[in-house]
Amino acid sequence: MSNFGDKAATLVQDISQSEKGTIPPYNDELVRAVVDESNEHHRSILRLIGDIQEQGTSLDAAAPEDAAAILVHHQAVLRNKRALLVYLNERADRVRALRWEVGTALPEDLGESLSHSERGYFQQYSALVNRYQGRRGGVGINITLDPTPPKEHKVQVRVLQERGELVTRDGTVDLAKNTVHLLWRDEAQPLITEGVVEMVV
């Protein structure tokens, strides 16, 4: 029974078991461990090749047991590489989806779950989407609004978190806790996705 690739499997399991659409904290420790393990395999391969050359045999004529050992180490490195790529790729997908869910501002507690590079990735992806939506060189419309076709222009919302005054197209609204307001849909949507207000049907 071999333990090769077990750490890699734990890493992928980590993201596989998380709830859909959420981002679990970046597992820096395990990622490092998998990289270290791969380096260890690399050293083993070099050692084996060195041993073979020391005996004076060419690599083509190496004993089958040496060849098997090198192959095992090599496969283990490829497996670890795949695990890291699967892990990072899945996270990158979810980070991109975040831009469409929560908008341009990364919620503080969520930012803690991302690695430094992932935060940078989010900022840059967000900037790209903004540029596409912009008036200059872009389509000039907010494409993240209304994922489903709206029926009404206005929606009724109840305030869940104290937010002070909000300036809207029709004037200012005092977002005091537990008050109910009728807002323009496009103005209400960011507040709803952030969880500041909830929709009343």
Binding site: S2, G5, G21, E65, E101, N178, V180, G195
Partner: protein, 206 residues
């Protein structure tokens, strides 16, 4: 290569397969077999390897794979007797995915047929569960990962169809990520205060 990034495909390959080494393995005695006394793995030793290691070694004729536990004789006896009520995920959570990869490697016609039969027998139940009932599918614990994904896909499309046909008013909801984080932080205390004050709401027309 799209399967390369697939999480379930990756995890399916973690299944352990018993193999016999046709050649030895230098320096990996302890790593492959805890009971091994020598530094090198001797020839003809039987060990369990994760599936991802097997194809390349098999290609070079360095190992001979044997039937893994999840496709054991006893398993098939149960599956063939009552295919619809067997908890396949207890044998292997990726029963069909792993089975497909394994038969592909060994070109095992018999196993291939057994898998296909088991899947077709179970599929009808899955289809009914997805399309006709909206209540919780009560036999979820019997399903393998592949079947679960099929069920959920069927469910989602039925729901989308339903929403479209009866065009229920869309409701905007809080983002998944925000909700999950809140749950983690507040641990349930959140929400009780707001409910209390619901009666004396002010309605402001803007």
């Amino acid at each position: 290569m799209s399967r390369y990034f697939d999480i379930d495909s990756f995890l399916a390959e973690q299944t352990r397969v018993p193999v016999v080494f046709n050649s030895g393995c230098t320096g990996l005695g302890k790593e492959m077999d805890k009971m091994c006394q020598t530094r090198d793995l001797p020839m003809g030793e039987e060990v369990e390897l994760p599936f991802w290691l097997v194809p390349k070694l098999f290609e070079q004729n360095m190992v001979g794979p044997k039937m893994p536990d999840c496709f054991d004789e006893r398993v098939w006896q149960v599956v063939e007797a009552e295919p619809k009520n067997v908890p396949l995920r207890d044998f292997n959570p990726h029963f069909f995915e792993f089975g497909a990869r394994f038969t592909e490697l060994l070109r095992d016609e018999e196993l291939h047929e057994q898998l296909e039969k088991a899947f077709t027998a179970r599929y009808s139940k899955l289809l009914v569960g997805a399309a006709l009932s909206t209540s919780e599918f009560k036999d979820r614990h019997l399903l393998s990962r592949e079947e679960e994904k099929l069920l959920d896909a069927g469910r989602d499309s039925m729901k989308a169809f339903h929403d479209w046909k009866y065009s229920t008013t869309e409701k905007l909801t809080v983002a998944h990520t925000v909700k999950a984080n809140k749950k983690r932080r507040a641990g349930g205390a959140y929400g009780s205060n707001q409910r209390r004050a619901m009666g004396d709401n002010l309605t402001n027309r803007v």
